[in-house]
Amino acid sequence: MSSVAASPVSDSPASLKTPRPVLQLVDVRKVFDGFAAVDGISLDIEEGEFVTIVGPSGSGKTTLLRMLAGLESPSDGYITLRGELINDVPSNRRPTCLVFQSLALFPHMTVGDNIEFPLRVRKMAPEERRKRALELMAKVRLPEDYYSKNVMLCSGGEKQRVALARAFAYDPDVLFFDEPLSALDYKLKKLLEKELKDLHRESGKTFVYITHSLEEAMVMSDRIGVMRAGKVVQIGTPEQIYSTPADRFVAEFFGEVNIVPIRRAEGGWVRKDGKPVAVAPGVSVDGDEASVVIRPEYMRFVTDGAGAENTLSGSIFNEYSLGSRLQYQVRSRTGRTFLVEVPRAAAWKGDGEVTIGWDAVNAIVVGG
């Protein structure tokens, strides 16, 4: 078994130069009743990395995480941890720990007993256990007198911290997080995101985090993987994913965007209505159908004084205030809706009939 596991890691000479991945997935699949929840994922996760997997619900990200944690076993493919095949290693024998979406705190135990649970498994002496639990509570900023508090009487944020402390008590090599912040209010979420990032840096451990929230992923991750229908469609730094989405799905997933479908024509690209489209040089898309993706902040109102490489006309039918910025919904002649986001100072003063436009350099052309 272990010889199979070793081969994908040691074969390539490149792996000698780059740090050896702590977790490696090779063509991992998980099939439930003929449905592939995870459909052939290959992924290297480096030591000490903070990797976030994002995707809409049903994209298979939770199944992927459960396989990594040992709560499901893959139908196909290999999962190796430091070069050891762990496909069928049960969760209680893996040096990994999962923070559940529900947090899965033991409701009949105190905060201290929850945190000490993995230490009790290891038969650590009671005094030592207590000392370690209090250390961890300080680390996650839980007051010391919470030690003997019933865990169900803690607030949402406090429960979060207990779950984190308990995971750290297990002292895993890799920590997995299954949307643990999804139930919290915005302010607390922001605070805990930063704290989690700090904990990651201080502990030097590898974090694999899943979420459906772009913001969460952007704030915390070294790398982001985008999942769709059981596959990883793109993986890269937050910057890469944001500025060069691999396809329309990734572009749309990462915030509000304007999409203009285009097709290949003689000497360049044209819109559906036949009007030529200026695209940035060096666009390489397979096939004859493509989409231009323009973020709302790169869309602007075209006036006599300020033109744009691409224009279209329409009428404003909604205006939203985003604080320092304003967002307009513009309906084009063809009935498509476009978002234009401008600084408050550049608010549109004219009537409802507008021409909007964008420059080729600010648009991304993606296949499909």
Binding site: S102, A104, F106, H108, P118, Y170
Partner: protein
């Protein structure tokens, strides 16, 4: 109290109290009144119907008379009830666990199999067992037919009484227990395993405490029912053991000594409710459920 007219001036009843009046009335008429009548009968003149008009401790002193052997009935009833609960705990846990985690789509069918006997009268089912165990009955006859020397003499023993009680009260332990086990969130078991715990530790520290409310309710229910059991001892046990309920029944019927029957019933109620309450007090349901 006498003022029942709603239009009459006076202290107004709160909406909550008014809404609870029907239930309150039902409880007073259907539960409290008979109980008080029984309690009153227990202190009435022996072998009379002078309830509420006489007060004597003769019935109780007759029961506690050292020459009276009725205490053996109490001991048998309570011992059989304890044994029944203990054995049912052991039998039902694996079935309840299976209904939740193992049987999958068959669990509905298995549940129905356990519910089904409840549609048939208890006495009919017990007589069915008599036919099964009786000499030249189903078991004995079949064994003889296959050339064996015949079945063992099981009928009319304390053992078969216990068997009958276990058989009759099994659903009352099984279903609360099944609900209790269903209350264990799967995430907690997964989390415990993920934190390194083995099967035994997960069972002891997570599953058992979280299923405890259901287990406890099942145990109390079966204990209370088993302590009042009579048909098993009469039909299957052939009166080899006299349970206290049978003594009470005899006092009320053949003996026509209602005060004596009431005194016995009162003592039984006190013993059973005392045991049940002390068990409930020791096991803090709120704490188990994490509400405190």
């Amino acid at each position: 109290m006498a003022d029942t007219s709603l239009s009459a001036p006076g202290p107004k009843l709160s909406p909550g109290l008014r809404a609870s009046l029907p239930v309150l009335f039902l409880l007073i008429a259907g539960f409290l009144a008979p109980l008080l009548t029984v309690a009153a009968y227990a202190f009435a003149t022996p072998k009379s119907f002078d309830v509420f008009r006489s007060f004597t401790l003769e019935n109780l002193s007759a029961i506690f008379d050292p020459n009276n052997t009725v205490w053996t009935s109490f001991v048998w009833s309570l011992a059989l009830a304890f044994a029944c609960v203990a054995i049912l705990l052991v039998i039902c846990y694996p079935i309840a666990f299976g209904l939740n985690k193992v049987f999958g789509k068959w669990s509905g069918f298995v549940s129905v199999l356990f519910v089904f006997p409840l549609f048939v009268s208890e006495n009919v089912r017990l007589y069915g067992w008599v036919l099964f165990f009786i000499k030249n009955g189903v078991l004995d006859g079949a064994l003889k037919w296959f050339g064996f020397s015949g079945g063992p003499e099981l009928l009319y023993t304390p053992g078969i009484t216990l068997f009958g009680m276990i058989y009759v009260y099994l659903p009352f332990m099984l279903f609360p227990m099944t609900l209790g086990i269903a209350m264990i969130p799967r995430d907690l078991v997964d989390a415990a395993s993920d934190l390194g715990a083995g099967r035994l530790m997960i069972w002891r520290e997570i599953e058992l405490p979280l299923a405890m409310p259901g287990i406890l309710i099942g145990a109390l229910l079966t204990f209370v029912l088993a302590a009042g059991a009579v048909a098993e001892a009469k039909i299957l046990g052939g009166q080899s053991v006299i349970t206290i309920t049978q003594d009470i029944e005899v006092a009320f019927t053949y003996a026509q000594n209602w005060p004596m029957g009431s005194a016995l019933a009162l003592i039984l109620v006190l013993i059973v409710s005392g045991l049940a309450l002390s068990a409930m007090a020791r096991l803090d349901l709120d704490k188990i459920l994490g509400k405190r």
